[in-house]
């Protein structure tokens, strides 16, 4: 599994951090997403896919 994030689209909602804190964080100064792990282990797939599905800016892409 590989993940990319679109920093320009990110609206700082923080849903990804709430759902998968092992994979996502936010910059302290403007709330924009930080991708901690672009290729997380398979056991995190459900959380990562959930985070991508609920992102209000559709800023997370997950590739198999």
């Amino acid at each position: 599994m590989e993940i990319t994030v679109d920093e320009d689209a990110c609206c700082g909602a923080g849903q990804c951090v709430m759902i998968a804190p092992e994979v996502f964080d936010q910059r302290d100064d403007d709330g924009v997403v930080i991708l901690l792990d672009p290729a997380p282990p398979p056991e995190l797939r459900p959380a990562v896919e959930n985070a991508a599905a609920v992102c209000p800016a559709a800023a997370i892409s997950v590739f198999p």
Binding site: C11, A13, G14, Q15, M18, D28, G31, P56
Partner: protein, 394 residues
């Protein structure tokens, strides 16, 4: 068709939503002002327009529809609330500056304090009680006041100013004018006082940014921001606490499922947000360029109302859309909007709702509605929706 539509009861959606999603996804409705708008009810149509960075809720242009029955047309039409920070690059700069105060990390750090406030409020009352006035309204006000650095002892005045700002049909013009003037004067004076006596709060921080005079924020923008945050942090979560608890108690097996498994709290909060049949009248968009939606062409200058609550019940996106499914996952509801203008405070709202629900389950496991769900009364006459009173016992 007159809009908003009538609900069969406070927790049930108007029948028109399902019919329009099926038969007429781009429909014409008449607002309280008498002006006509275009109403969107399907998830994809609503989400796509909301997320389109070309358009905003700013209806101050002369050819935009007025929403409320007042002179200006209400909060979306008010030209004095529009600045460089409302749209485009200016909005992005403003948003990034504000977002630091509403990150997941920052709002998660508020959980212990929110819990403490919830415990204090619950300890102060005996059953039977109205959950809205005992907990729903005071809790978010205390939280946003602490965050902004505004004393919460003015909260009765805040509630009135906030209602006036969100007026649809409730207030007369002179009441609106007085409330707008008082609210502005209060906030302007309060921001000045912050400069003499700064604290560890958001308004003090923003006042410093204004004083740097580097183009990031003007004094006018600061006051509009402070008013906006106070109103937004106040009405929406406050109403949602009452509605969430009412929805969970209306079918008590929902409450019992949460008592049996607290791990359901986060997904139950999301489902309550999705299932809310009375969140607001929808979010407007002024479509400033020709726009295609569901096979129709809207000319430039059209005012569109996106009905988020109808979108959240669209069976094309949500299985069993008319059922409250407490462990629904994923739940891509758009109760907070979508795209660059989606709710700035959504992480805070989630933490408040999750925390309040957790404390209620711990403290009042025997909680139940003291009236039939059908007897709950809607708050009327504002652009946001809620329930007047949620009478409970335990």
């Amino acid at each position: 068709m007159e809009y908003p539509f009538t609900q069969p009861s406070a927790l049930e959606p108007p029948a028109e939503w399902a019919r329009l999603r099926d038969e007429c996804p781009v429909s014409r409705v008449r607002m309280a002002s008498g002006d006509e708008t275009v109403l969107l009810t399907r998830y994809e149509d609503v989400r796509t327009l909301l997320a389109d960075p070309r358009f905003t809720h700013n209806l101050s242009r002369p050819d935009a529809a007025r929403i409320a029955d007042s002179e200006s047309g209400g909060v979306f039409n008010e030209a004095s609330l529009v600045t460089d920070m409302t749209s485009g690059e200016g909005h992005l700069r403003w948003r990034r500056m504000m977002s630091r105060s509403f990150t997941a990390k920052r709002v998660n750090a508020l959980r212990p304090r929110i819990e403490e406030i919830a415990h204090e409020l619950i300890s102060a009352v005996q059953p039977p009680v109205d959950l809205v006035s005992a907990l729903g309204f005071p809790l978010p006000v205390f939280v946003i006041c602490e965050l902004l650095g505004v004393p919460a002892d003015h909260r009765d005045r805040f509630a009135h100013w906030s209602d006036a700002m969100l007026n649809l049909t409730k207030f007369k013009q002179d009441e609106l004018d007085t409330a707008a003037r008082e609210f502005h004067e209060f906030m302007a004076a309060h921001v000045l006082a912050k400069r003499d006596n700064p604290g560890d709060d958001l308004l003090s921080e923003l006042a410093t940014i204004v004083d740097a005079q580097d183009g990031r924020l003007t004094e006018v923008e600061l006051i509009i921001t402070a008013q906006g945050l106070l109103v937004a942090g106040h009405e929406t979560t406050a109403n949602m606490i009452g509605k969430m608890v009412a929805m969970l108690l209306a079918d008590r097996s929902r409450w019992e499922a949460l008592l049996a498994d607290r791990g359901l709290i986060p997904s139950a909060v999301e489902e309550a947000l999705r299932f809310d049949a009375n969140p607001n009248i929808g979010i407007p968009r002024y479509v400033s360029e020709q726009y295609e939606v569901a096979g129709e062409t809207l000319p430039a200058g059209t005012t569109v109302i996106t009905n988020l609550a109808s979108a959240n019940r669209d069976g094309c996106v949500f299985a069993d859309a008319d059922e409250m499914v407490l462990d629904r996952r994923p739940n891509p509801h758009i109760a907070f909007g979508a795209g660059p203008h989606s709710c700035l405070g959504q992480a805070l709202a989630r933490v408040e709702l999750q925390t309040v629900l957790g404390v209620l389950l711990d403290r009042l496991p025997g909680l139940r509605l003291d009236v039939e769900p059908a007897a709950l009364r809607r708050r009327e006459g504002l652009v946001v929706g809620g329930i007047e009173e949620v009478p409970v016992r335990w």
